[in-house]
């Protein structure tokens, strides 16, 4: 299967990307070129195969990896100045953005 221009527009919107008409065209063409090599996975029989979300899953002996938990300690100092050093727009410690309408 291949994508159509509407798919590209929908996904661009989801991904917050604005594509000029020319970009839009090339995007469609190149993504479809990629999906032409993707189609082969559809024919693969994966019945009963457990999806692998973490590579270490497959590590022998270790078994499925369990999430490590940390003690509940608040130890981060206030580092606002350093953390906002590269912020595009800050006023009184707040990040400024165009008005958020609810």
């Amino acid at each position: 299967m291949s994508l159509n221009p509407a798919d590209i527009s929908r996904i661009a919107r989801l991904a917050r990307l604005e594509l000029a008409p020319v970009e839009h065209e090339q995007m469609l063409e190149k993504i479809n070129a990629f999906f032409s090599i993707v189609e082969q996975i559809k024919g693969v029989n994966t019945d009963g195969v457990e999806p692998m979300a973490h590579p270490v899953d497959a590590m022998q002996g270790s078994g499925p990896m369990a999430l490590r938990l940390r003690p509940d300690l608040a130890s981060e100092p206030n580092d606002r100045e350093a953390n906002q050093r590269s912020a595009p727009a800050v006023e009184r410690g707040l990040f400024l953005v165009p008005k958020v309408i609810e």
Partner: protein, 481 residues
């Protein structure tokens, strides 16, 4: 689930999603503090701000809160649950995705049971999942712009989701109050609704009895029980009007405006539907060993319903008293300490539900601010039980304890409130009164029982109120009989 109570021939169907902020020191995936009310972005560390290269590390205490809730509500605690990314763009969501749980939540099933007008109700839970809170957008004082404060971003939440089991706004509020009681009781959430620690979203729809579920609208962020009821009632009326006018209901998210008392639809994000959930590759599955669950179970405090049942069983209290006394952990403890100390549980219950509550409400005091300790109250009640003082005298003593404090016996002494239990002295008074009121005596002997009252009054007066009324009656009858 209560029997459907129809509104203009429609059945109301309500389901709840409640976001409870967990009472942890640090955030769910970072070591920043969760304290409320700090200067903007001073408690948003590199991880909370999603600075490049940062990664989440899970807070053990948040998991323990989930286990507690699951045990409290009789849910299944998943031995293996999975964190997933919910992808959407919003300025208060620093990573552009929220770490939540989607396909496999940590708490599954369970139920909340409570009384509504004396009727037992049960609301079934679908699930409760761990996730991170978002930051806040401040719309004031920035012309055409919003200010983003990410201090709240990453605060641990348990989102508790019910089945659409509720059939009225009253039942919905009763559910919310019961859930609020439980999460604060087990110490998992401070329950502060003003600060947003306990936020309810109500999914409301209406239908003709027996019809399929109607289209629902979700009322967001109900942060007071009062508004909850108002918002749901308004929403129900609105939906019924729409249907009656032949309009179909559009699924929507709405906000309640306390000033107008109305709900209005939020601006819908067209792509909001497609969150592109997938397992978070930064977080392996959350594994909870049975030993952990058992340890938490063994450390759990007795739950309100169990405690109420015990009060009925061990102290012989009526169900109503037991239910009232277990509204809060503090009140239950106050009752139990007092009852144990004086051995008259029913009297204690009467006093707490009566005098104590009255004065608490009057002075808007919390139990931990009470000027009368459980030991003092126990003392007072013992003095009533052993007949040292009358009930009316006891009220005077309580008043003194409340206003000046001091020891019960000292106050009784000082105010000379001891009942006169020495029959010799009392008989002397009675003889004098009989001698002074021959008329009443004759009338009584002539068969007019009422005439007795004409004698009791003067006797009590002569005893300066210290005579024990029961004893007076007994002696009178003996002398006149």
């Amino acid at each position: 689930m209560s029997a459907a109570k129809l509104v203009h021939g429609y059945e109301v169907v309500i389901g709840f999603e409640t976001h409870t902020q967990l009472s942890t020191e640090s955030k769910i995936f970072s070591r920043a503090s969760t304290a409320f009310g700090a200067e903007p972005n001073t408690q948003a560390c590199a991880v909370d701000l999603a600075l490049p290269g940062t990664l989440p590390v899970m807070n053990r205490a948040a998991v323990e809160c989930a286990i507690k809730l699951g045990l409290a509500l009789g849910s299944h605690i998943a031995p293996r649950s999975v964190f997933a990314r919910k992808n959407y763009f919003y300025p208060d969501l620093p990573k552009g995705y929220q770490i939540s749980q989607f396909e496999i939540p940590v708490v599954q099933g369970g139920a909340v049971s409570f009384f509504l007008d004396g009727e037992p109700q049960t609301v079934r839970l679908v699930r409760a999942h761990l996730e991170e809170d978002a930051g806040k957008s401040l719309h004031e004082d920035f012309i055409g712009q919003s200010g983003i404060d990410l201090n709240r971003a990453g605060t641990p939440l348990l989102e508790i989701v019910t089945e659409p089991d509720m059939r009225s706004s009253e039942e919905a509020v009763a559910y919310a109050k019961e859930l609020h009681k439980i999460v604060t009781w087990i110490g998992m959430c401070d329950g502060n609704m003003q600060e947003g620690s306990f936020r309810c979203d109500a999914n409301v729809s209406v239908r003709k009895p027996g019809a399929a579920l109607g289209t629902r609208r979700e009322i967001k962020n109900l942060n007071s029980f009062k508004f909850m009821q108002q918002a749901i009632d308004y929403e129900v009326r609105w939906q019924i009007e729409q249907l009656e006018d032949g309009h179909a209901i559009q699924q929507a998210t709405v906000l309640f405006n306390p000033d107008t008392g109305e709900t209005r639809a939020m601006r819908t994000k067209e792509d909001a539907a497609d969150y592109r959930y997938f397992p978070d590759p930064d977080l392996p599955p959350l594994v909870i060993a049975p030993e952990w669950v058992e340890r938490v179970r063994s450390e759990m405090t007795e739950l309100p319903r169990a405690m109420a049942e015990r009060f009925v069983r061990d102290y012989g209290l009526p169900e109503y008293d037991a239910a009232t006394l277990t509204q809060s952990k503090a009140m239950a403890a106050y009752f139990e300490e007092t009852a144990k100390a004086c051995g008259s549980p029913k009297l204690v219950s009467n006093w707490i539900m009566g005098e104590v509550s009255r004065r608490m409400n009057a002075g808007e005091l919390a139990l931990d601010q009470l000027p009368v300790s459980s030991a003092q109250l126990a003392n007072l009640i013992s003095r009533i039980a052993d007949g040292t003082i009358s009930n009316s005298a006891a009220k005077q003593v309580f008043d003194a304890l409340w206003t000046e404090g001091g020891s019960v016996d000292a106050i009784i002494e000082a105010k000379g409130l001891k009942q006169m239990n020495d029959s010799g002295e009392l008989e002397k008074i009675i003889d004098e009164v009989l001698a002074a009121n021959p008329k009443n005596v004759e009338e009584y002997k002539a068969g007019n029982a009422k005439a007795l009252n004409g004698l009791v009054g003067p006797i009590m007066k002569a005893s300066k109120g210290k005579a024990n009324p029961a004893q007076v009656n007994a002696l009178l009858l003996k002398k006149l009989g």
